[in-house]
Structure formats: structure tokens, C-alpha cells
């Protein structure tokens, strides 16, 4: 722990300097979604929020942000804040095309959860993580320790694991609230409002499938399947798409499940989470290779829906992902 102590004066100095810069500048960039909106009214700093039980105080608009996991990177990109990201870590996959140019300029610190030193070396004033587990002594550092260094930290509220904070169930309103809150923290309220308005419109435009189809949200695992359960982002999207989750009874975001329960339910369709380390194709191969699952009607008829890993976690891609699920569903002929 000698490093934080050694960096303390430096980081404090950096934070002070940034605080001045932050006060002097109104939010720097005019993000694309906000372009049609009237020029922004700046956030009144300091801002305080209760984030997963952590008292977060932001003295000035963060300018040097490190993001961990795709959901946080993509939230900032969607808010037009790509140029404030000085490094990203643990990306779950490529960002959607619309943000690809902005994302290309962002250096990737680590393909995994980064160490505290790797994060501090970039001298960030803020770390935005997708999971609470991104803030441990082995990873980016505990949030209190970062605060002592003058570094703010934020966890996607949808990923709070404490009972008092975990959304139960997660809804699109919670997701939109997160966008609004993030917009407020980063000083781009108008961009956030415009993004939420746009997403609400897109969501309202989705007409859910009405055939009452049952579905397995197959995230990972071969021996023991790991699937979307009853209260998380998968359930939220399945609900919006008009699908009935066979694992809905499990009170968790994701859960380990059993193949026997899957075969017993014989879902109409299977959502395959596509990750670079565990592709949708490899899941199909596994389903077909296992003699018990090979006879599932969805496997026999190839009734698969695909979703990129990063779009399956709560974030700015959920609305588009739901639309994509519905579109893929419409191509599936089932009575």
C-alpha cells in the first residue's frame, strides 16, 4: 500500500488543478444526442449521490475518466463523453458501430479488471466501473481508498449487489435513471435527457411478440449452464420482448441452472449470449453435442436469438438489444 501514500500529494494536486479547470470550463463537448437540445445548463457542483451505499461526492465535472467494462464505456460514449475517457479496461467486446470511431481513440489498459497501480498510473480523476467487484484492492482499488486520493468512483446502480440497492426487479426506468444520474455527475444533464428521451421513444416503438413463447437466456457454462434469471437485465429485456423466461422463478440477476430443468421446460427459443471467449456458435455446438439438449425443440429447429455479451448487461444498449430480439423473433416461424 505504499503506492497510494506516495501518490497522495500528486493526486491531491491533480485533483485540485482539475477542480479549477472543471469550474472554469463549462462541460467541454457538445455531445451528439444533445445537439438538437438547447445549450446546456451546467451541473451545479459539488454533486452528492448514494451509489450502491457509497457516498459519492463529485466536486467538479470529471475530466480524466477510466472506465471498467463495456457498459460504463458505452454509457459515456452515448453521452458524447468519449474524449474524457483516458483509458478503458475489461471490455466485453467491440462497441456498436455508431460509437466505433470515438472508441478507437481510447487506449485499453487491460483486457481484464486492471490493478490499482495500472489505473493510478493514468492519473484519473474518476473511475466508472460496471461491477462492484471492479473496486477491490486487487483491482482498481477500494472506493474509499480512491476517494482518499481524490478520485471519484461510480458503479452502474443496476449492478449494486447489496439487498438495499439491488434493483428488484431491474426495469428500464432504473436503466434510464442511471443514464440521467451519470449525465448529472459528468455535467451533461441535457445530453442525458436527450438520450433518455430517445431511448424511451425507441422502447415505446417496440411491439412485443405476442405468441407467448418461452425462452432460455443462455449466458455461459457447459456442464452447469449459467442463465438469465428473474430480476436482472435479461429478464427486463425478455419481458419487453414478450418472452417468458424459464428461469424467472430464481430471484437473481443471473443464476447457475441445471440442464435437467432446461430440458424439462423445453423452451421455444434460446437466447445465445455472444462473447469472444464463449461465442454463440460454440454454444450451439455444445447444445447439439449434448444428447439431452440436442432434442430440445429450439435446438432441433435452430430457433436461436443472438445478443452481444455487453448488450446483455444493464446499460445504454438494452433498448436496441430488445428491438433486435423482437426483430430476430419475427423471423422465427412458430405458431
Amino acid at each position: 500500500m505504499s503506492l497510494p501514500t506516495r501518490l497522495l500529494p500528486l493526486a491531491a494536486a491533480a485533483a485540485c488543478a482539475l477542480a479549477l479547470v472543471g469550474c472554469a470550463n463549462s462541460p467541454g463537448i457538445s455531445p451528439e444526442p444533445a445537439a438538437s437540445v438547447a445549450p446546456s445548463a451546467a451541473t451545479d457542483y459539488p454533486v452528492s449521490v448514494d451509489n450502491c451505499g457509497f457516498d459519492l461526492n463529485v466536486a467538479a465535472a470529471p475530466e480524466r475518466i477510466v472506465t471498467i467494462k463495456s457498459t460504463s464505456t458505452e454509457t459515456l460514449l452515448a453521452l458524447g463523453l468519449g474524449d474524457r475517457i483516458i483509458g478503458e479496461a475489461f471490455p466485453d467486446g467491440p462497441v456498436p458501430d455508431q460509437w466505433a470511431d470515438d472508441a478507437a481513440a481510447i487506449p485499453v489498459i487491460s483486457d481484464f479488471a486492471p490493478s490499482q497501480e495500472a489505473v493510478l498510473a493514468l492519473e484519473p480523476d474518476f473511475v466508472y466501473g460496471g461491477w462492484e467487484s471492479n473496486f477491490t484492492p486487487e483491482t482498481a482499488g477500494e472506493r474509499a481508498a480512491l476517494r482518499d486520493l481524490g478520485i471519484g468512483s461510480y458503479v452502474s446502480p443496476a449492478a449494486c449487489k447489496d439487498d438495499a440497492y439491488q434493483p428488484d426487479p431491474l426495469t428500464f426506468d432504473v436503466v434510464f435513471d442511471e443514464i440521467t444520474e451519470a449525465g448529472h455527475l459528468f455535467g451533461v444533464d441535457n445530453a442525458a435527457a436527450a438520450l433518455v428521451a430517445e431511448q424511451r421513444g425507441d422502447l415505446a416503438g417496440i411491439s412485443a411478440d405476442t405468441r407467448g413463447l418461452s425462452v432460455l437466456w443462455y449466458s455461459s457454462g457447459t456442464d452447469i449452464p449459467y442463465v438469465g434469471a428473474g430480476i436482472g437485465a435479461p429478464q427486463m429485456m425478455m419481458d419487453a420482448a414478450g418472452l417468458t423466461n424459464i428461469a424467472a422463478e430464481v430471484q437473481d440477476t443471473w443464476t447457475s441452472f441445471s440442464w435437467e430443468a432446461v430440458v424439462d421446460a423445453d423452451p421455444d427459443v434460446i437466447v445465445l449470449v455472444d462473447a469472444s471467449w464463449n461465442t454463440a456458435d460454440s454454444k450451439i455446438a455444445a447444445l447439439e453435442a449434448n444428447p439431452a439438449t440436442a432434442n430440445l425443440s429450439a435446438v432441433q429447429d435452430g430457433r436461436y436469438l443472438r445478443i452481444p455479451f455487453a448488450a446483455g448487461e444493464a446499460g445504454v444498449r438494452n433498448v436496441a438489444a430488445t428491438a433486435s430480439l423482437v426483430e430476430q423473433l419475427s423471423a422465427i416461424g412458430l405458431d
Binding site: D92, D111, F112, S219, S220, G221, T222, D223, I224, Y226, A247, E249, V250, T255, S256, F257, S258, W259, E260, A261, V263, D264, D266, A275, S276, W277, N278, N290, P291, A292, N295, L296, S297, F309
Partner: protein, 329 residues
């Protein structure tokens, strides 16, 4: 008498364990389905539900039986060979070596067969343990266990390193199941490997194991009884490593079966290996069948790794045995 009773118990365990599971299928339907696959009558179940019985439950129960039997035999033999009541494949590092071999194959894409890699890992770990113990002054029970602990820790560290280095995203979850020991993925190929290992290695060990009685009084006594001490010991140890490797390759490393069950059996029937080994095998088979049945039904529809169950049951049992026969350990 015990043998007959346990054989009946094993058959009954298999018969009833297959009727239990998250899917509601009546016992009668399950048995009719099994009989159908054995060539008698028709299955009353749909193709899918028939698959639940014949592709998921049946191979899993049979694998549990074979793995339980194999680990119990391995434990009993190692306890006799090292004159060490704490010896078992888990404690002497064999399981951890086998895991390392298997995980390397799984994650690094080393292209040799999984059971062979697991056997290789188990053998290397065993040799390492015995070499360390010998170098430290001879194969006394405490030295052997301490050497085993060292090798086991090293194997676990290397396994963790391989996982840390290669597991991406949420794929560590799968490996975790594997490290804790799980039979969730056991299909008919697992039955072939584990039952094949029992037939080709386990049964010969049980037959050869009769000479183990002589080891109880020390190497000199064994030699006086006309046993080629060195050759017998090494043949049996290598065979035990082979057996352990085969079991670990289908189940991951499951603890406490090899350690606790032979002791429990010894308490009841004494330490004549002609009796001890087959009975340990039967008790091990029954124990693991029911542990795994708990693992897949306790939190239905969730599954948990069976190694958690064997440890939760095995650890207190072990303490009980320790206190009952504290003079011998």
C-alpha cells in the same frame, strides 16, 4: 454379510437416485424408460423427458458410483502403502496434480486426452510428494502428509495461475465448478472412462491389495512375509495415480471421499484389505451417488458442485473419526 448388504444398497441407490431431479417424472416412468433402454418394453416418456432420464440422470448416477468407488479404493490403498491414516488422493497432492493436468488441457488447448493428462499430473504429483518426503528423511506419515500438502498447494497455485491467465469474462465460473468437483457434465463418455478405470485398474488393485495387510507391520515385516516391497509399493502407487487421474478427469477434484470412507469402513469391518477394499468401494459409490443427488436437487433448479457437499459431510465425519481413534492418527 456386509458385502451383500452393500451391493443391495448400491443397486437400490442407483434405482432411487435416478428418480430424483428438478424435472417431475414419476418413479414408474423413470424405471420404464430405463428398462426400455435396456431392451425391455417401451418408454412412456416423450423423447425429451426420456433424454432427462437416460442422457442426464443415468450417466451421472453411474459416474458418481464409479468415481466414489475409485476414490475410496485409492484412499484405502494409499493409507496402507504409506502406513498413514491421513493419506488420500486429495491430501497427497494427486487430485491437485490431476486437476492441473486437466485444466491445462482444457484451457491451454494442449492436445492430449483429458484422462491421460490428469493421470500424468497425478503421477508427477505423487512422485514429487514421495521424493520430497524421502529426501526429508524417509516416508514417515507426517513427512508424507506435509510433502503432500506442499505439492498440493503448488498444484493448486499453478492451476489458479493457468485459470487466471486464460479465463476471460465469466468463463472462470466453469473452472470453479471443476475445481470444487462436479459431476454435472457427466455423460456416457464419463461413465465409460470411470467404469473402465474401475474395471481395468480398480479391480486389479483390489486383488493385488491383499498383500497390503503385510505392509501394516512395516517394510521389514512385509519383506519377511515374502513380498517384494519396493516393486509392490510402486506398482500399486502408480495404479492408484492412474485410477485417481481417470476419476479427476471426469469429476474434478472431489475431496474427503478417499480420506474418510475407508476409515469408517475400517472401524466396522477391521483392516483386512481383502474385505476393506471392496467394501470401501461400495460405500464410496453409495456415498457419492447421494452427495451428487443432493448437489443437483437441494437448490433445484440451481446446481451446486458436489465437492461442497462431500466436504460439508466429510469434514465433521473426519473430526468424529479423529476423536474416536485419536491414538492411531
Amino acid at each position: 454379510m456386509w458385502g451383500g448388504l452393500l451391493v443391495v444398497g448400491l443397486v437400490a441407490s442407483i434405482t432411487f437416485a435416478v428418480t430424483l431431479g428438478p424435472a417431475e417424472i414419476s418413479a414408474g416412468e423413470v424405471w420404464a424408460s430405463v428398462l426400455h433402454h435396456l431392451g425391455i418394453g417401451e418408454s412412456p416418456l416423450s423423447l425429451l423427458r426420456d433424454g432427462i432420464v437416460w442422457q442426464l440422470r443415468m450417466p451421472r448416477v453411474l459416474t458418481a458410483a464409479a468415481v466414489g468407488a475409485g476414490l475410496a479404493i485409492a484412499g484405502a490403498v494409499m493409507q496402507a502403502l504409506t502406513r498413514n491414516s491421513l493419506a488420500d488422493p486429495y491430501l497427497l497432492g494427486l487430485s491437485s496434480g490431476a486437476s492441473l493436468g486437466a485444466v491445462s488441457v482444457l484451457l491451454l488447448g494442449v492436445t492430449i486426452l483429458l484422462p491421460i493428462a490428469a493421470f500424468g499430473g497425478a503421477l508427477v504429483a505423487l512422485v514429487l510428494t514421495l521424493l520430497i518426503a524421502s529426501a526429508a528423511g524417509g516416508l514417515t506419515p507426517s513427512r508424507t502428509v506435509l510433502a503432500g500438502v506442499a505439492v498440493s498447494s503448488l498444484g493448486a497455485a499453478l492451476t489458479s495461475f493457468v485459470i487466471f491467465w486464460t479465463a476471460k469474462g465469466d468463463s472462470y465460473r466453469e473452472i470453479l465448478n471443476w475445481l470444487l468437483g462436479s459431476l454435472a457434465g457427466a455423460g456416457w463418455s464419463a461413465v465409460a472412462i470411470s467404469c473402465g478405470a474401475i474395471a481395468l485398474v480398480g479391480i486389479p488393485i483390489m486383488i493385488a491389495g491383499r498383500s497390503l495387510d503385510a505392509f501394516a507391520f512395516g517394510d521389514t515385516a512385509a519383506a519377511a512375509l515374502g513380498i517384494s516391497v519396493g516393486r509392490t509399493r510402486w506398482t500399486l502407487l502408480v495404479a492408484t495415480a492412474l485410477l485417481t487421474g481417470a476419476m479427476v478427469s471426469v469429476s474434478g477434484s472431489i475431496g474427503f471421499v478417499g480420506l474418510v470412507l475407508p476409515h469408517a469402513v475400517r472401524l466396522v469391518v477391521g483392516s483386512r484389505h481383502r474385505v476393506l477394499l471392496p467394501l470401501s468401494a461400495l460405500v464410496g459409490a453409495i456415498f457419492l451417488i447421494w452427495s451428487d443427488t443432493l448437489a443437483r436437487t437441494l437448490f433445484d433448479p440451481r446446481e451446486m458442485p458436489v465437492g461442497i457437499i462431500t466436504a460439508v459431510i466429510g469434514a465433521p465425519l473426519f473430526v468424529l473419526l479423529l476423536t474416536r481413534k485419536s491414538t492411531r492418527v
